[in-house]
């Protein structure tokens, strides 16, 4: 087991390294030079000034050299300084992380809590009215873009009730009520989107499993439905679902970028968007590496969960 995790971590590191190369070069291929975003529109772009700023930021070196400078810093634990603020990028990320973390965690939990029971009900009551209602609602939710739903959730209460969630972000431990009010809508939107994919998969996966011989055996033993499902069917049905949950964490990341912007939450997703727009290379790179890390760890956890769900899957080869 330990060997397995170690091997997965190694692959994970290679993936993260690949991401680092990709994002580094991708950002620099974006048209528009970072140095002009640093100087701003008001400043006269005196060529001497431009050259001086470029040199200070290390942007005058050839690209592969810049990469080596940066990656060697990362390996030593130094993620670099923001091109815009000159402060270490880690600072900004850490300051904004609680928001995105809370958003992500709550959305994931809520998404799973919604999706799995509904998927199970849908499967057990296949082709009945409730199955159709649930499946159609699922598709409707999936079809509505997250940013649109989010915006509607802001605009209509402001018109009907003259109410919006309090601006900004109050920490949970400071004032839980305010905190949850601020996050309720974005979490709702993210969770519903997250859950739609899982719901359908839960349903189809469970249906598959329910057709298996050993389930038939369980029925013929005279066991109650709840026991058959909970004790025998569910675990096996969850294997593909868990995979998808891991993969969909990526979508969650994209979702936080959108929703943090709409709901004015000071999170990492919003920081990412702002940094790309102003070509703050170092900031973008740091955030992308963070996302890649989270994604990799999530999927390693998923793989570990397999072993627990189905002991037949040998984790060590």
């Amino acid at each position: 087991m330990r060997q397995y995790v170690a091997r997965r971590l190694l692959f994970g590191l290679i993936v993260i390294w690949g991401v680092s190369v990709m994002i580094f070069f991708l950002m620099r291929f974006l048209p528009g030079e970072a140095v002009y975003m640093v100087l701003g529109e008001d400043v006269s772009a005196d060529p001497k000034l431009v050259a001086a700023v470029k040199a200070r930021l290390g942007l005058d070196k050839p690209v592969h050299e810049q990469y080596l400078v940066w990656i060697s810093g990362v390996l030593r634990g130094d993620m670099g300084k923001s091109l815009q603020t000159d402060e270490p990028v880690v600072q900004q990320i850490l300051a904004r992380l609680p928001v995105t973390l809370e958003l992500g965690v709550l959305s994931t939990i809520l998404g799973i809590v919604i999706a799995i029971p509904i998927g199970v009900i849908s499967a057990l009551r296949q082709d009945t009215r409730i199955d159709y209602v649930l499946r159609v609602s699922c598709i409707i939710l999936l079809a509505m873009p997250a940013f649109w739903v989010g915006t509607m959730l802001l605009v209509f209460p402001s018109i009907w009730f003259k109410w919006v969630p309090p601006l900004g972000y109050t920490e949970f431990f400071q004032d839980p009520k305010v905190n949850l009010t601020q996050l309720a809508f974005p979490v709702f939107v993210l969770a519903t989107h997250f859950s739609t994919a899982i719901m359908r998969l839960t349903r189809s996966s469970l249906l598959e499993v329910l057709r298996q011989d050993y389930i038939r055996t369980a029925w013929s033993k005279g066991l109650r439905e709840s026991v058959v499902v909970a004790r025998h069917a569910l675990k096996n049905a969850m294997i593909p679902v868990v995979t998808v949950i891991g993969l969909h964490m990526g979508r969650l990341v994209g979702g936080t970028v959108l929703l943090e912007s709409i709901f004015s939450l000071p999170g990492v997703g919003r920081l990412f968007l702002e940094s790309v727009i102003v070509r703050d290379y170092t900031q973008v790179q740091a955030i992308v590496l963070l996302f890649a890390l989270v994604f990799t760890i999530a999927n390693i956890l998923v793989d570990i969960t397999y072993g627990w769900l189905d002991p037949r899957i040998k984790l060590s080869r």
């Binding site: 915006t151 709409i262 920081l271």
Partner: protein, 456 residues
Amino acid sequence: MGVNAAILVPDLAESWEISKDGKTYTFHLRKGVKWHNLPPVNGREFVAEDVVYTYDRIANTAGSANAGWFSTLDKMRAVGKYTVEITLKEPYVAFLLNMADTYAVITPKEVVDADGNLKKRVIGTGPFILTERVSNIVTKLRRNPDYWERGVPYLDGIDLFTIPDPSATLAAFRGGQIDLASSSDKEEVASILRSNPRTQVLRRVVGLSWSKIHWRTDKPPYDNIKLRQAFSVAMDRQGEIDIRFGGEGTTVVGPMPAYPGFVVPLEKLGEASKFYKRDVKYAKQLLAEAGYPNGGEFPYMVANTDFLNRAQFYYNSLLEAGIKLKIKVIDFAEYLGTGYIGKYEGAANGGTNFPPDPGEFFHLQYHSASAVYNQSHVKDPLVDKMIEEQKRTLDPDKRIKIIQDLQMHLADKFYYIALPGSSSNRLMSPRVRGWAPTINQNDSDVFRYVWFEGEK
């Protein structure tokens, strides 16, 4: 000095004199002004040395963006605690206006000595003290109890939120979370007034705007004056105002923003005024005279912000006259590195900055020696001559005359085509009183005299 409606208002400088030859400026500073009570300045008195320090820093730091303000500086000194004397080598008419610019704000030496720059701390002498700033999220200001003007500010504090989504901003305004918002959309404003009729709306038609098309007037195809004139005649400026701005806006006429006191109105432009009225037939004729009897395709680069919407709008009116735009859309960041600094081919549109003084404006945009901001690469010796002349002219009436002559000369050349200015609406919650804007392109707010009365 504060700037409002292009009139200089005494602020830190209580009064000032200019010598007869226009070369020496003497500023008499207000006594008893204190810096904000924050380390490392700790509320000490503001003195003439601070002014000298600030201007010296602007003039002499390597890479200083506004060093040009002091290009004619001869000497500068503090006379005692409250007088600053500045002598120039030759008269520079825009000098006072430059001193009133946002970037001429007086800065404390202690901060620069301690931090090496002004990026970490903001310490000034103004009515509000910066207490918290999270970049791109929120800026918090609190009342300065030691402000020199007695009794103000009335507000205890201001929180400025950066809200990325415009719908979210208006939702927050409706929900009573914020007291000030803006909107250019007539429908939106009407909708807000319906939900709360007590909302205050300040409708401003932006007269001073300079959103322009610039092009390489030194190369084909845009070196052809008839082609440029054809563009102007074919464009439907009033149409844009009617359709995109809900009928409220100004057709910015001519080669200069509408600086009050200096601008030549359309009626007085004489022969050239015919180029500012839409006339498809005449446009086709001009196009033929330019060598395109069957119309043509012309390159046009645009930044993908609101400028893109404008380009898409004008595409149709230009097409009717036979001008087909080959639109290339680029990122705003890319525009800043190319079109904005004059490094591009063809035509482009983006960027709206301009200085408070018309003379400075002409110098930056039209003078052949202006390296960066002369985006159209204008090389007109008569224009150069007139720009240099007005810079030295001390008599304000004579100077106005030169600037008006400049406009007359440029009116039919179309080195730039200015697009119409839109209207903007400042929305205020019912309790806000005493708010006023400053007339600059940043649409800054003056919070000094704001107070609340009644409920939100």
